[in-house]
Amino acid sequence: MALKTEEMVLNMGPQHPSTHGVLRLELKLEGELVRDVKPHIGYLHRCFEKHCEAMNYHQIVPYTDRMDYLASMSNNFGYAVAVERLLGLEVPERVEYIRVIVAELQRIASHLVALGTYGVDIGAFTPFLYCFRDREKILTIFEETSGARLLYNYIWVGGLAQDIHPDFVRKTKEFIKYFRPQIEDLNNLLSYNKIFIERTANIGILPKDTAINYGITGPVLRASGVKWDLRKNDPYSIYNKFDFNIPVGEGKMGTVGDSWDRYYVRILELEESLKIIEQAIDGIPEGDVKAAVPRRVKPPKATIYSRTENPKGELGYFIISDGTANPFRVKVRAPSFVNMEVFGELCKGHLVADVITILGSLDIVLGEIDR
């Protein structure tokens, strides 16, 4: 005799400990088995794109901070590159070096949050605090240089807000020296933990073709085995001067493109970012940190789509200029937003606990999804 069962609708979030912000998930459950997931977004919408139409190009920079608030530097960087391309502007060499260094430090900081919170999602609380302790050191470096700890407003169109702090180079070098062994620590504590592998390997497998079809970018795409990194494939700034690898998922513990791969690609990227910083930190040339940019820039009538590699993936700025001081339209292609779309497909047929595992492995930031 078969018992009659019913599907249960479970509303997860927007106030839930592990939806990474104010995401709301509507889960259709059969027992603990997930039959369908419907993400609801928009709880953090701040009309960024509409605001941009009423501001001039310089004023938009602090607003970009607030999109992916864990990687403000990278957002600034992407926006500055976009507007500079629109203006046809060359920035001084010193600026480019500093931009690359802070962007890579930011990538490490952002990945540390991703890795730490992923541990919490799986149930290990201690790695989270280790990651935050190390991130704190990066924030201190940024605070000295830019004056802020989270929303820096540091990389401006045509240059930087101000020059780096005199201690910047020394502290960054100290950080690199300090941080390398910490990665090993994290590996021993979490990455190669048997329970952690059991929980993440073969969970939420994202095949190569699905990833490409959905337009997934960043570590999530690379974990599926696609060697795609804009720093190499579509170089901007001075990334082509540096030597680094693009780590891809290999399915070491399970299948290529599972949650463990997505986690581990981030671990490997920490090392690559350190490599870039090491190469750049000694080569910072002397000079000015601001190109000659007028206070009110008026780009020619044009449209531009400019993309950069954010910690979370491809951050694209699509700007339409109508020749006035304000942009006619600014559209942002947010990596978290695009990566989130595949979530429902990954979750089907998994357990409730795996929904959290998969969500954590995608590493979304709601500030960026909703903008």
């Binding site: 479970l10 839930h16 400990p17 592990s18 919490v120 149930g123 329970i195 409730v352 929904v355």
Partner: protein, 356 residues
């Protein structure tokens, strides 16, 4: 203890009450207060933090302050909750986890009730916890609570089987259900502890050592699961189910779940020490014996028993802050595919050895 109190008070009923209340007030409640603080301090120091530092010296009064705060809080009962069940669930869990201490011999002198079916009583009374958890989760009328309660019930019921089988093994080996008798068999040196094959010398002792170590590991894992501690804390997995079956509880009712958890931790630690690690026996003679001060012996025994118990509690804390959490199906796999077959094998072999 009871006989002693009966002699003093000259009244059976009064003696019963005092004998029952003494371990609770003298030992368990202060322990629970300290353990909550210890957990926070252990986790803090493992994580490069300091933990509570403000209330008292290094925050030693923090738990007291927390309890005071929780008592003052508004007693919130959700509108859709089943009121009677909702209110009684925490009491049931609190009661059953503290009732276990009645039969645990803290020293040769200090035992709440030295009944002959002590181990059976422990297994029976800890079954109440499942009922309490199910009551609480169902009455909350919350989907997270329900999922947590279901997980928890399945988990505790499953893990009771390997626990019971190992306890049965120990009963076969020692020939007694009375924890005090079992403890008394392991006197003198630590070589006589059950983990080292018990007090009987001979070949059987050598054969028993690896079996006993395996049995200890199995019972430790399953007891960890029974008290819902990491890596088996799926019942209250905060990253998935908010806080599982007690999501809707607040104030003093929440504190009861909380204190019950810590009491449970100590209870299982003490049971394991009594079964495998000689209970209240000193690993190497008593100071009281060598000095000729005989009233010192029970105090030393309490010291050793507490030390053993606290060691295992500490181990549970360290595990909690090191390991991630298993998934529901993996948890069941560990129990049904590994722990139960191995424990049955141990039961059979030990039974064979005992017969020989």
């Amino acid at each position: 203890m009871y006989e002693f109190l009966q002699n003093i008070t000259g009244n059976q009923i009064v003696a019963y009450f005092i004998a029952a209340a003494l371990p609770l007030f003298l030992f368990i409640l202060p322990y629970a207060l300290l353990a909550v603080l210890a957990e926070r301090k252990v986790s803090a120091h493992m994580q490069d933090r300091l933990g509570p530092m403000r209330v008292g010296y290094h925050g030693i009064l923090q738990t007291l302050a927390d309890i005071l705060k929780l008592i003052q809080k508004e007693d919130i009962i959700p509108a859709a909750a089943d009121k009677k069940l909702f209110i009684s669930a925490p009491y049931l869990i609190f009661m059953s986890s503290f009732a276990v201490f009645a039969v645990i011999p803290f020293s040769s002198f200090f035992i709440g009730s030295s009944i002959d079916i002590g181990l059976f009583y422990i297994i029976a009374i800890s079954g109440f916890v499942v009922a309490g958890i199910l009551m609480g989760s169902w009455a909350s009328n919350n989907k997270y609570s329900l999922l947590g309660g279901m997980r928890s019930a399945a988990q505790i019921v499953s893990y009771e089987i390997p626990t019971a089988i190992i306890v049965l093994t120990m009963v076969m080996l020692t020939g007694s259900l009375n924890l005090k008798t079992i403890t008394e068999q392991q006197t003198d040196f630590f070589w006589n502890w059950n983990i080292f094959g018990g007090a009987d010398a001979g070949i059987s002792k050598i054969v028993l050592i690896p079996l006993m170590i395996a049995a200890f590991i199995i019972i430790f894992i399953s007891m960890l699961a029974e008290v819902n501690r990491t890596p088996f804390d799926i019942a209250e997995a905060e990253s998935e189910l908010v806080s599982g079956f007690h999501t809707e509880y607040s104030g003093m009712r929440f504190a009861m779940f909380f204190l019950a958890e810590y009491a449970n931790m100590l209870a299982v630690s003490l049971i394991i020490s009594a079964l495998f690690f000689g209970g209240y026996n000193s690993p190497f003679g008593y100071l009281g014996n060598s000095l000729g001060v005989h009233w010192l012996i029970p105090i030393e025994q309490i010291f050793w028993f507490t030390l053993k118990g606290i060691t295992f509690v500490f181990l549970q804390m360290v595990l909690r802050w090191t390991l991630p959490r298993l998934r529901v199906d993996q948890l069941m796999t560990v129990c049904w595919k590994y722990l139960i077959p191995y424990s049955v094998a141990i039961l059979l072999i030990v039974g064979f050895i005992t017969v020989l």
